[in-house]
Structures are given as C-alpha cells and as structure tokens.
C-alpha cells in the first residue's frame, strides 16, 4: 500500500515536473528565437532578473527530480547485475543532488 501510493505520487510528480520544464524551455527558446543570439550583456542581464532566476531554479530542480525518477526506472530494465545497478543508482542520486545544489549556487551564490 505504502509502496503503491509512493509509485502513484512519483508518477504524478514525474509529469508535473515535465510540464514545468516544458514551460521553461518554451520560454527560453521563445526568447532566443525572437531576439536571436544574445551577447554577454544581454545574457547576463536576463539572468540578473529575479523572476527569471526563480523560474530557472524551479526548472532546474524539476529537471533534477524528473531525471532522478526517470533514470531510476530505466537502469533496471537494461542492467541486471546488482552491483552495477547499485553504482548507477548511487551515481543518479549524487548527480541529481549535485545539479540541485549547484543550480542554487550558480543563480544565487556566485560572485
């Protein structure tokens, strides 16, 4: 029961995070398509905007979660060796956590 409900909430969060990332990608690609290739000033001005920073942070955190759930489901379909699987799972957790923490540093802690 507990395992089943965990799976259902994971299923929903996987899709909600996908929609969040999609909205953000539409936003960024739309900006790039309209304005063309940015120069350093334009690019850094965009990322100095607090609203855009928060949207970026939300999108990266959603990506990290989405990737975590996705990769954890994909590995065992192809990797049957338990030791190799454990290494891949550990890598997946570490990489997701690193992405989440690093994105906070890049957007709010740098300089």
């Amino acid at each position: 029961m507990a395992a089943a409900s965990k799976f259902v909430s994971e299923w929903w969060l996987q899709r909600i995070s996908a929609v969040l990332v999609t909205a953000y990608v539409f936003l960024v690609l739309g900006l790039l398509l309209v304005n063309g290739t940015p120069n350093a000033m334009q690019w850094q001005a965009l990322f100095a905007n607090t609203g855009f920073k928060l949207a970026t942070l939300l999108a990266i955190l959603a990506t990290a979660y989405h990737g975590l759930v996705g990769a954890m489901h994909v590995w065992p379909d192809y990797v049957k060796n338990r030791a190799v699987l454990a290494v891949l799972n550990a890598y997946t957790w570490l990489a997701s956590a690193a992405v989440a923490l690093w994105s906070v540093y890049i957007l709010f802690g740098m300089k």
Binding site: T22, L33, A40, M41, W43, I60, A95, I106, M110
Partner: protein, 140 residues
C-alpha cells in the same frame, strides 16, 4: 525396446518454444516506429541526464563574467565538435519534450490505436527535427 517406450516421452518433452524473437531473426527485425519513438525517448532522457552537469558548468561559465561568456564562446561555441554535441543535445531536449507530450496524451488512453500511434510517432520525429533545425538556423 526401451527406445519404443522413451520415444513418445521425448516427443512430449521437446515442445516447440515460442520466443518473441529468435536470434536468427534479430538482424532482419525492424522495430515498429512507435517502438523506435519509445526507445529514443529513453536514450535522449539518459543522454540529457548525464550531460546535465556539463550544461550547468557551461551556464556557470557564461554567467560568471563577461570574460567567462567570451571564454564560453571561444572554447565551446567556436569548436565545431562541441557545437555538434550541443546541437545533438538540443535535438534531445526537443525530441524528449515532444515525445513526452505524446506519452502524456497516451496516459489518457488516447492515440493508442495502431494507425494513430504510428502517425504520431512519425510526427514526433518530424516535428522535433524541424524545431531543432529552426533553432539552429536562428542561433548558428
């Protein structure tokens, strides 16, 4: 004499085995296009996940300072090989997104009949290649 007795037994033991696919057929087997769409969705997903840390490194470089942005342009953007990898990743995100939207429609039990599944799988490839080409053309 003993052969006569064991023969029917052996025959019942050697029942035909129906595999989904035999090794000999593997070379000639063509995965149906909805199957290709599904496996490419997985491959692009894993590729994006693995490259995420490199993408963050590039984002940090481009935001660090004006010199960092120029360094990104010189090291990454001016390098044809790196550019091809980045275009590959652009295709991966575009494809993964559009194929993901198709999968979410299929979550509602729509688009599951074979002609529609084939047509939408084909459309996902066509659309994501088109969008990738459009962005590359605009930002090259």
């Amino acid at each position: 004499m003993s052969e006569n007795i064991s023969a029917p037994l052996a025959k019942t033991r050697a029942r035909p085995v129906f595999r989904n696919i035999g090794f000999a057929e593997l070379a000639n087997y063509r995965l149906p296009i909805p199957g290709v769409a599904s496996i490419v969705h997985r491959i692009t997903g894993i590729a994006l996940f693995v490259c995420l840390l490199f993408l963050l490194a590039m984002l940090q470089m481009s935001l660090k300072s004006e010199a960092g942005f120029e360094a990104f342009r010189n090291i990454v953007w001016a390098n044809p090989f790196a550019k091809i990898v980045l275009i590959g990743l652009l295709f991966a995100i575009t494809y993964h997104m559009i194929a993901g939207l198709r999968h979410m429609v299929q979550d509602t039990n729509a688009w599951l009949d074979l002609p529609t599944a084939r047509a939408t799988a084909f459309a996902v490839f066509a659309l994501s290649l088109l969008v990738t080409a459009l962005i590359v053309w605009r930002l090259w």
